[in-house]
Amino acid sequence: MQDFGAAFALAFHLIATGNADLVEIVLLSLRVSISAVLIAALIGMPLGALLAVARFPGRGALIVLVNALMGLPPVVVGLLVYLMLSNAGPLGVLQLLYTPTAMIIAQALLVTPIVAALTRQVIDDLNREYDEQLRSLGVGWYDAVGTLLWDARASLATALLAGFGRAVAEVGAVIIVGGNINHVTRVMTTAIALETSKGDLALALALGLILILIAVSVNALVMSLRGERLETARA
């Protein structure tokens, strides 16, 4: 118990003094996860909106698939990306394995279905309300999607934050494709796993505290956005 207390004290000291290793790991984590969420937004939002608005054969199956992919196990994604990027894989020539780029790819694959599925749900709900009015105004299909995405922006921001929460907290995918290399691919979750196994609880705890702080901040942001939306919708 005494060790536990000492570890906590050391953790706070590392955070308070802005320990260089700690800062480097946190910044890389944020860079990887934010990049992954941006890529997921670029792919997932239009895909989700398309699934909500367009009608085409196989749409139902695609929706089921996207929803199912929300629960993708990170280690499976990590394994698939590893197979693609390894020297023997089809993209091995790019030499991306054990780089932050590989970690971004893996997390983007993990987060895109979440963003797409949540976007589809949000846009579908809004489209039920807007559909007749937009068609009555003579709004074309393409402009309607743009209008729906813009008017659902608060809910879509929530979807992105949910995706970010998933990305920044996962360990399975990034440890497989990143390799947890010091000063290169070490992020918060992989560092926590490593330092804990080494018995260096102080750094692990400091990183854990920061991770929790980020998770709480993201949730607070989601709640404030929701609150704003409810405020706007109140009639």
């Binding site: 309300e129 807007y130 007749e132 009015q133 068609r135 009555s136 105004l137 074309g140 919708a233 009639a235």
Partner: protein, 258 residues
């Protein structure tokens, strides 16, 4: 009359008819609409001409709103057709109509942005857009609320905004689907004043209601719909004085018509 609704000196905010040819008369031929194994519109033929204010009257569930959506082109009939001056509904014709729904659908934007959106969709020149926006805000008595989020307005204000947005684009024909059904008398009066003004400026009004009082106030002619059919159609004064069809007689006498 409220100041903002005194339009005598106002510019012609409700645009006059435009385009290569009038889209009226509107002609519905043998309209049938079936859903869930039920025939909800049962062979309606209807001519809608310029000028008069047409009120589609009837009990709940008669098919009035459905008829309006079929005419406006929001849904396709199972059989029959809707012709605008001999042409089928297309995007260009749709852009020369407007519709106000029973429950106003407002974008999650400001009051002014809701009107500006409609003007932008119709690709009006920027200068004209700004002038019309100002005119419409005045018409709907919403100038002071221009920057407020549309969805925090009261029910009456929301419906006035929906009406102003519909009129902003200068439609040749305005469909209204029971726009005052959930409004109090004061809000209803404001809506009816705007509708009157639009009609006076040349916009053809086709309005659905089940409110006999409103039909008396607004109608030049009445189309009485019962069980998916036009049971009777006549000039308003004649309809209210001496209805011919049995359902219309019952409806006007206050009996429960199902």
């Amino acid at each position: 009359m409220p100041e903002a609704l005194s339009l005598a000196a106002a510019p012609p905010v409700v645009a006059t008819r435009s385009g290569p040819a009038d889209i009226l008369p509107l002609r519905a031929e043998g309209l049938v609409f079936e859903a869930g194994g039920r025939r909800l519109i049962d062979g309606i033929d209807l001519d809608v001409q310029h000028g008069t204010r047409t009120v589609v009257l009837g009990p709940n569930g008669a098919g009035k709103s459905l008829l309006l959506r079929l005419l406006h082109g929001l849904i396709a009939p199972t059989r029959g057709q809707v012709l605008w001056n001999g042409r089928s509904t297309d995007a260009a014709i749709l852009r020369r109509q407007s519709m106000v729904f029973q429950k106003p659908v407002l974008l999650r934007r400001s009051v002014a942005s809701n009107i500006a959106y409609a003007l932008k969709v119709r690709r009006l020149p920027r200068a004209e857009r700004e002038a019309r926006l100002a005119d419409m805000l005045a018409l709907a008595n919403l100038k002071e609320l221009a920057g407020a989020p549309a969805r925090v307005l009261s029910g009456g204000e929301q419906q006035r905004l929906a009406l102003a947005r519909a009129l902003a684009t200068g439609p040749e024909i305005l469909f209204l689907d029971e726009p005052t059904s959930s409004l109090d008398p004061a809000s209803t009066e404001l809506i009816e004043t705007i509708v009157d003004e639009a009609a006076a400026r040349g916009t053809k009004i086709v309005m659905v209601t089940h409110d006999i009082g409103q039909a008396r106030r607004l109608a030049d002619e009445v189309v009485f719909v019962h069980r998916g059919r036009v049971a009777e159609r006549s000039a308003a004064f004649r309809f209210f004085q001496s209805p011919v069809s049995a359902p219309a007689v019952d409806f006007l006498s206050g009996k429960l018509v199902i």
